[in-house]
């Protein structure tokens, strides 16, 4: 038994004594190359697409410049799958083991993760690998260009799912009961009741064909997969596969601060209480810990980004300190980052951590704008709204099969980046194969309609 394995077992029994509750974790040592790929794809085996190749090169460049070091990746599920980097020291990997147990506890108990687990089952790694395999088969059957044009569209709309909705959805009801026409006004109402007037025909009831979609549909991947007039079955499958993976990514995305903070809180606590670790190993693990949760790069005094490990860790420590671990466990169960930051990041904590809101003006001048707590919370959360994407809904499917999309610019505050939106529309058009339109506003807030 290796040294690390021995420590890992001891850390685990300590974790169980301290009340961490999780599905079994399957650890695997992996080389740096696989860790890089996981950082790029989000999953160990995922569907092929050229855009991942671009991210891959960016990641390699970042790593070679020392901007990015990967410690660990963990995939929630039953069992959880964790990968440890084989070039990391034993101390670092002992820390990572403890960190992963924190994640495992979080993902079993947090409601968003639990919901996905209930809908999709706890085997995302295998599911994604199966998706990749099916797409490979599709490439063999239909050629790389055709599969690519489907993936271009599906991955471009990756974030456009209804995160509160169900993974497995039925089509809209085809017919709806016709509601009797409302009586127009008080006069008519009165007139109808006058004696001698013709007996009013009983309001027509019965079923009428429902409009599609019956309401603005934000689950674009599902909508296209289900209602695109000329998609072949395998093309629909690809949309649904991308959508299933998006459902998996959403809790990870929406709980990043909480989740990393929780794992950091637990790795710190587990190591602190792990009296079985030799002193030098504990010290180097502690060093690794402080590297992970520090707010800025070494030698800097400010950072124009928030380190989620640091922020989450700070908030969790405060919650445990003030309200006890049981309350913290409830918070871990109930909140996502929105609730976590809005409810638990208070003025005092923000001031201690030195949080601020900055503004970049034309000419790239950057100034500290405010230290108001609400502004800080919203600035932290702004990139997380709606899975980090503009709110775009399918508004209407016309009789000729053309699709109208509408951007909810009122709630997003401004219009879409038009050149990108045009390209996305081109991707969609290539699979929708009928006219596709997208309504948004330009920088002068005038309505514009893009078409493809």
């Amino acid at each position: 038994m290796s040294e690390l394995e021995e420590y890992a077992q001891q850390i685990e029994s300590l974790a169980q004594r301290l009340g961490l509750d999780y599905y079994p974790v399957d650890f695997e040592m992996a080389p740096a190359s696989l860790m890089t790929e996981i950082a790029v794809y989000g999953l160990p085996v995922r569907m092929p697409h050229w855009s991942f190749g671009v991210r891959y090169i960016h990641q390699l460049v970042r790593q070679s410049m020392g901007h990015s070091k990967i410690f660990e990746v963990m995939f929630p599920g039953d069992p959880c799958r964790a990968f440890l980097m084989d070039t990391n020291s034993t101390a670092e990997n002992a820390l990572v083991t403890a960190h992963v147990l924190g994640h495992a506890d979080f993902s079993k108990n947090n409601q968003l993760f639990a919901r996905f687990h209930a809908m999709a089952g706890g085997n995302i790694v295998e599911t994604a690998a199966a998706h990749a395999h099916r797409i490979q088969l599709a490439i063999e059957a239909h050629g790389v260009e055709r599969v690519e044009s489907v993936l271009d569209a599906a991955l471009a709309l990756e974030a456009h799912i209804d995160v509160g909705g169900e993974l497995h959805r039925a089509r809209y009801p085809e017919f709806i009961a016709k509601t009797p026409a409302a009586v127009p006004n008080a006069f008519q109402n009165r007139f109808q009741q006058l004696p001698g007037a013709e007996e009013r025909a009983a309001p027509q009831t019965g079923l009428v064909r429902a409009p599609v979609p019956p309401h603005p549909e934000y689950d674009l991947l599902w909508f296209i997969a289900t209602y695109a007039p000329e998609l072949e079955q395998w093309e629909r499958d690809i949309f649904l596969m991308v959508r299933a993976e998006s459902f998996y990514f959403y809790p990870v995305f929406a709980c990043q601060i909480m989740n990393e903070g929780w794992a950091s809180y637990w790795h710190a606590r587990l190591l602190r209480e792990a009296d079985f670790l030799p002193q030098p190993l504990y010290l180097s693990a502690l060093k690794a810990h402080s590297d992970v949760v520090r707010p800025f790069a070494s030698g800097r005094e400010t950072a124009l980004a928030i380190n989620p490990y640091h922020l989450g860790f700070t908030i969790w420590e405060r919650i445990v300190e003030k309200h006890g671990i049981e309350r913290a466990r409830e918070v871990r169960r109930d909140e996502d980052d929105f609730g976590f930051v809005r409810n638990w990041l208070d003025e005092e904590l923000a001031a201690e951590a030195g949080l601020f809101v900055y503004e970049t003006r034309p000419g790239d001048e950057i100034r500290v704008a405010t230290k108001d707590i609400n502004a800080i919370r919203e600035a932290i959360l702004a990139p997380k709204f709606n899975f980090g994407s503009p709110r775009v809904a399918a508004a209407e499917l016309k009789h000729d099969g053309s699709l109208s999309l509408a951007h909810d610019h009122a709630s997003d505050g401004r219009g879409l980046d038009v050149s990108r939106a045009k390209r996305v529309l081109d991707y969609v058009h290539r699979v929708w194969r009928r006219p596709v339109r997208l309504a948004t506003v330009n920088e002068r807030s005038e309505a514009v309609e893009l078409a493809a």
């Binding site: 790929e37 500290v368 980046d417």
Partner: protein, 391 residues
């Protein structure tokens, strides 16, 4: 809890998914680059080089677009550290500074270079333009005899002994003669005269496969930079097309104003002169070159001439005579008139008239007018289509 260490080659080492997608991206970039090729190619000094040369094209990554909000005039973000409202964390750029000079653009833009083989590009263009293959001039081609290897014989000159064959024969003979044991025989195999094999040579007539291309360019004052660029592009693709066809292609660069000179390629397009235009001077020089170096009887000679069409009036007859003489001898002569004012011309220029007349006389002559980049393709297409039709 166990920590697994992969015992054998783990699945993820079998191939790199990141590299696979990166290669696919590059393939797509290549396809995109092809669209801008003509411009790229003609701007580099590639004409006389061996065709295995490559062009390096700097490109950006392809972007897989997502829906995104348009840029706000003021961007907000959350930061952490020392700082009070109003503090400047990063000064704005001064007027005239290059944006992103301080590496402030976050991700940083990574550029990379795609290398394309000129040969590959030309093949691709030919396919794209559906251009026919050239026909070597049959009548003027002398069949050149060539020795090629064919078969073996038991007798021959010592220098053509095929050792490998000979050893094979010896081994075979041993295997037959030895009573089944000699296959593993340790003793060296001995050779007898019967084992010897000599390569045989056979005389075969082969058609001439060399071509000479004579480029003539009017560099008088009236040809401006843009016109010369168009001429260069036309010349370049014409040459590439001829290169595809012939094993050996030699080039001659002639420029003229009132007089004509021969240049090498690097100076050819830089040459300029302020004198008048006397076309017969360059035609004479071309005839001279053909007479001394590239006998049209042995070479497939192509003559291309680019000019703005204006020639000295008194040179008219002289020019017609010499150009006709050229046209009779070469596989094809192409005249390419440059200049952007074609539509306003009340009549054909003098040179256009001469070439049209020659063409009317049944000679393999082509004329084209190039006013813009797109015309270069038309001209090339026309040239190759005509050339393959004329016998």
């Amino acid at each position: 809890m166990t920590i697994r260490l992969a015992a054998e080659t783990p699945w993820y080492d079998l191939f790199s998914r990141g590299a696979r997608d990166w290669l696919r991206h590059n393939e797509k970039v290549r396809d995109a680059v092809k669209d801008t090729l003509p411009e790229l190619l003609a701007n580099s000094d590639l004409m006389t080089g061996p065709s295995s040369r490559t062009v390096a094209v700097p490109v950006k990554f392809l972007e897989h677009s997502r829906l995104r909000l348009s840029d706000a005039s003021v961007n907000q973000g959350a930061g952490q550290g020392r700082g009070e409202p109003g503090d400047v964390l990063q000064p704005g750029r001064e007027e005239g500074d290059q944006p992103g000079q301080q590496g402030g653009t976050g991700e940083g833009e990574i550029r990379f270079v795609v290398e394309l083989k000129v040969e590959e590009i030309v093949d691709w263009l030919w396919e794209e333009l559906k251009l026919p293959e050239l026909k070597p001039k049959r009548t003027a081609t002398i069949d050149q005899a060539e020795y090629i290897r064919e078969g073996w014989d038991k007798r021959g000159a010592r220098s053509r002994l095929d050792r490998r064959r000979t050893m094979k024969e010896a081994v075979k003979r041993h295997a037959i003669q030895g009573n089944g044991t000699s296959i593993v025989a340790e003793e060296p195999i001995s050779l007898v005269n019967d084992d010897l094999r000599f390569r045989q040579l056979v005389k075969r007539p082969t058609p001439a496969t060399s071509a000479a291309v004579i480029f003539a360019l009017d560099v008088s004052g009236s040809m401006d930079e843009a016109q010369r660029r168009l001429a260069k592009q036309f010349f370049f693709f014409a040459l590439q097309g001829i290169r595809r066809q012939y094993a050996k292609v030699e080039t001659v660069f002639l420029a003229h104003a009132a007089q004509a000179w021969e240049f090498d390629e690097s100076q050819f397009f830089q040459a300029s002169s302020s004198g008048g235009t006397v076309t017969s001077s360059v035609a004479r020089l071309a005839l001279d070159v053909m007479g001394t170096r590239y006998d049209p009887g042995r070479y497939n000679v192509y003559f291309f001439y680019a000019s703005d069409g204006e020639n000295a009036a008194e040179d008219r007859d002289e020019a017609r005579g010499t150009l006709a003489e050229i046209a009779q001898q070469v596989n094809y002569s192409g005249y390419c008139e440059t200049g952007g004012v074609a539509t306003f011309r009340p009549r054909d220029t003098q040179l256009a008239e001469i070439f049209t007349e020659l063409k009317g006389g049944g000679l393999a002559v082509g004329t084209s007018h190039i006013a813009s980049q797109d015309d270069v393709w038309k001209a090339i297409r026309e040239f190759f289509t005509q050339q393959s039709q004329s016998e």
